[in-house]
Homo-oligomer: 292 residues x 2
């Protein structure tokens, strides 16, 4: 159980993807596996945000915001802008790929490997040693594992999480087959804007905040906006530009900074000054920092 | 023929994707269709950059750098950092999707539509009116068109460019089926760093430059870096952060600004100051601006 949250026993947590996706591992890492009543796999990120905002059967969602190699997940940033959710936590997990197949299959029997193209690309060194294997793209790592089970494929392996092996009853032929073992994905924990979170009152330090803003169109507008942080010695941990929908080549910015947006005076005054310098500003939330 | 370049008659231009990809349309829009001796389709972006740097059979490449809706193409930014290429031009083209099928097929015969998931998502309104159609993801819009031709599919349509219809001999059942007609992709034209480009000597105004840099790890480092531009009234047209490979949660920055990095004194001094303030700096090139 995350110390900054008091979760009721009835927590249902949504994520994008099939059961066994890395997002599900992130849910367990953040909440603790025994504290999650139900995980709710949904096919798209927009369905995840829709469920949080429009239905009462989902309490939280855990969505990837950036990968240490591939970068930001633009679609998630756009949904944070366009919907009424708040960020209440973050969690980073290592992305270790495993090679999965039917029980009692040996690696010599494998002729074909299926997975998401990004996962296939991330296991290049391993796969280069299996020159006879056909590589088949799938839309999801966990979906590839599911396909092996459902279609009872004998000569095929999937690249997916170890959790997927457990969920679909597959055997792990090899662990950690990714080239770059430092590959991590950072997820944010979100809930509907109006939902209250208990148990955070006392906390003062070790926080991080996330905001979105757009600037006026003039030279130096971005530097002017960011200077509200540098002049107060507030450290930015991430900045990302994203295109505005239907306004080609106009951008909004996503920024993470250290400190609590409403409890830390230094941050409060930075936000106040930023509001005067930007055309739009949205505070997504402040939450316990989990990165090094 | 782009006025700032003198292309030899033997120009061969590489791009990522199948023949008929939007990148090929961008090549024709930039160079003029009659001035391109050969287009070279390659399966991955890394093969495109590899061909530019290590072989002599490709003169230029045209690669997407950002889409007005989907945002930056991270893999291309990473390759600009890790290889020895320079940017010599840019071109933006509108992304209009067409519905393609075998010649003499009517739209009533269609039961299935195949395309890249992003293209399918971009035609949501149109496809919502075709509730009986099965939607099948493919790895490439032009690849979907190619598949219809090669497999002689009768009840299937592809979402792809009009150029793909021409290349694969397909019929255009509907034009401009995308929801957002303002959707554009900006491409950069690149060549090997050592290749000389003629005909640019006189040009002084209307230029844009692209750079990459990483900052020291201290609060305000990014603002300090960007202030070399704002203090000189140089307009930034794009800023993007990208993760450093194998250094989780460290970033480099891609910045476009108005002006010529080596011919415009104001820009030259900004770059000089920036070099002192950053840990790494790479000037990718200066080229004629093509955006509004």
């Amino acid at each position: 159980l995350n110390s900054a949250l008091q979760l009721s026993e009835s927590s249902a947590v949504a994520f994008q993807g099939e059961l066994g996706a890395y997002s599900q591992s992130a849910i367990y890492a953040f909440f603790g596996r025994d504290k999650v009543r139900k995980v709710v796999p949904l096919p798209t990120f927009s369905r995840v945000f829709e469920n949080l905002c429009k239905s009462s059967n989902v309490d939280y969602a855990v969505v990837p915001i950036e990968n240490s190699v591939a970068g930001s997940v633009g679609e998630v940033l756009d949904l944070l802008l366009s919907t009424d959710v708040k960020i209440i936590g973050e969690i980073s997990i290592p992305i270790h790929h495993a090679l999965l197949a039917q029980i009692n299959t040996s690696i010599d029997q494998i002729r074909k490997v299926i997975s998401h193209p990004q996962a296939i690309a991330q296991c290049k060194v391993f796969l280069d040693s299996k020159t006879s294997w056909q590589q088949v793209p799938a839309y999801d790592t966990a979906g590839a594992a599911k396909m092996i089970k459902e279609q009872n494929l004998k000569d095929t392996a999937a690249i997916a999480s170890e959790l997927a092996a457990e969920i679909y009853g597959l055997e792990i032929l090899e662990r950690d087959i990714e080239d770059d073992h430092s590959n991590q994905t950072r997820f944010v924990v979100i809930t509907h804007h109006d939902r209250e979170i208990y148990g955070e009152e006392g906390a003062q330090s070790g926080y991080k905040s996330s905001i979105l803003f757009s600037t006026h169109h003039e030279p130096g507008a971005l530097v002017g906006a960011l200077s509200v942080f540098s002049s107060r010695n507030i450290n930015l941990t991430k900045i990302e530009s994203r295109p505005m929908k239907s306004r080609p080549w106009e951008y909004y910015f996503y920024v993470d900074f250290e400190g609590h947006a409403s409890r830390d005076e230094n941050c409060t005054s930075a936000i106040e000054e930023l509001r005067r310098k930007t055309s739009e500003l949205k505070v997504l939330g402040s939450y316990k920092r989990k990165n090094a």
